[in-house]
């Protein structure tokens, strides 16, 4: 009987192995099926608008239960590399992602929502950011339906992401209850932070001091307020700059109470903000902070367009 020799079999095996390699790579690429922001796609683009948020959490199922109960979000599980990932939807529209990342025992990490700001050309905005002192935490990467995105930290340390959506940015409508309505940057120096983001997105910056004199800058594009830059509130040494995203709610106090009943915490009790509606900050069961903001349909006085 003739002995099997690998070298003799190589010419036959090699094509099969090469096919497997190609197939494996294709399968990995197919894992990254982040949903498009808009279906059908649009041509709308709004530089500097908060268009997406990803929660990083150690317990995906618990996060789904918490946010689903609070805001009426529904979820669709997808695989993203080795992570568990759930797309949060409202009225059938994808609005956020929940990424599961285990925390090993003994480690202390801060679950948080990552804010994605719309950028027309991610590479160009990234270069501008780095030139002005930002650090690249995750370099630019393209996803077939989503577009191109990367993660940065600004010069003061606040983490944010850039996204060039291939299906257009989320349209400029008043968010419905349960949708993102606002983002605020909390920085050591709000003015310097505003200057940094102005270089990236061409924001118009309006100085609207808080009632207590704290710096509160409104960042706008297309004649719409997109975000604010705030000086970090005083009274604590354990603080670091960060972005905070707000969900529109009908009754902030009710949602805050529901959050506590669901295992969350209230970080900032409901209180009236500039527009007269109530805002609050809660933490989910894993500790990720998220804002609540009341906004009635009549709160927007003048439509600038």
């Amino acid at each position: 009987m003739r002995r099997f020799r690998l070298r003799d079999a190589l010419p036959g095996i090699a094509p099969l192995l090469l096919s497997a390699v190609v197939g494996l790579s294709a399968a990995r690429a197919a894992d990254f099926e982040l949903p498009a922001l808009n279906t059908p796609p649009s041509e709308e683009h709004h530089m500097g608008k908060m268009v997406w948020a990803d929660l990083v959490t150690p317990d995906l199922a618990a996060a789904e239960k918490f946010y689903g109960g609070l805001f009426g979000w529904t979820f669709r599980r997808i695989r993203v590399g080795n992570s568990g990932y759930a797309v949060a939807m409202i009225d059938g529209r994808p609005i956020a992602g929940l990424v599961e990342k285990p925390i090993r025992s003994g480690e202390r990490h801060q679950p948080a929502w990552l804010t994605f700001l719309a950028a027309g050309d991610v590479e160009a905005v990234k270069r501008a950011a780095v030139a002005h002192g930002a650090k690249v935490l995750a370099d630019c990467k393209s996803y077939p339906m989503r577009g191109r995105q990367c993660v940065l930290s600004d010069p003061q340390g606040a983490v944010f992401a850039l996204l060039a959506s291939s299906s257009g940015d989320t349209p400029d409508y008043l968010p419905v209850s349960g949708e993102w309505i606002w983002s605020s940057l909390h920085a050591q120096d709000a003015g310097t932070a505003a200057a940094f983001y102005q270089e990236l997105f061409g924001y118009d910056v309006f100085d609207m001091p808080s009632e207590d004199g704290a710096e509160h800058l409104i960042l706008s594009t297309d004649d719409y307020a997109r975000a604010s830059a705030n000086s970090l509130a005083g009274g604590s040494l354990r603080r670091h700059p960060h972005w905070l995203n707000f969900v529109r709610v009908e009754h902030a106090a009710d949602i805050a109470a529901k959050a506590v009943a669901s295992g969350g915490r209230v970080l900032v009790e409901p209180r009236a903000d500039r527009h007269g509606g109530m805002v609050a900050v809660i933490a989910d069961p894993a500790g990720a902070p998220i804002g609540l903001m009341e906004w009635t349909d009549s709160d927007t006085k003048a439509e600038p367009k």
């Binding site: 192995l17 990254f32 080795n82 990490h109 990552l114 606002w182």
Partner: protein, 114 residues
Amino acid sequence: MKTMRTPLLAGLMGSVTLAIFSACTVTGVGVDGSVGVDYGYPGAYYEPYGYDYGGWGGGYWVGPSRGGHRDDHGDGRRDAGGRDAGGRGGHAPAYRPAPRGRSAPSIPGRSRGR
């Protein structure tokens, strides 16, 4: 025949190595300074531990205005602390302030389907 097999074998080994590298997770450095597994998705970053929202007093505002308020813009007005708005403590701000006379806009007010 032998000369043909050697590059073939080398190519095969290279392909397998490439496959292993592309299929496996790689090590990355998180924003928290921890070195760990990069889950292949750029959004999977934990932030530095410890948020503290102490200090949000009643006058600490974070949200947008309702719009249409010309005096919301800090063109020459003074804030509650008596400082010139548009430049802290009378100094020119680091950013370029919006042109004088423009009021701060609000968020979009148009409803879906309208």
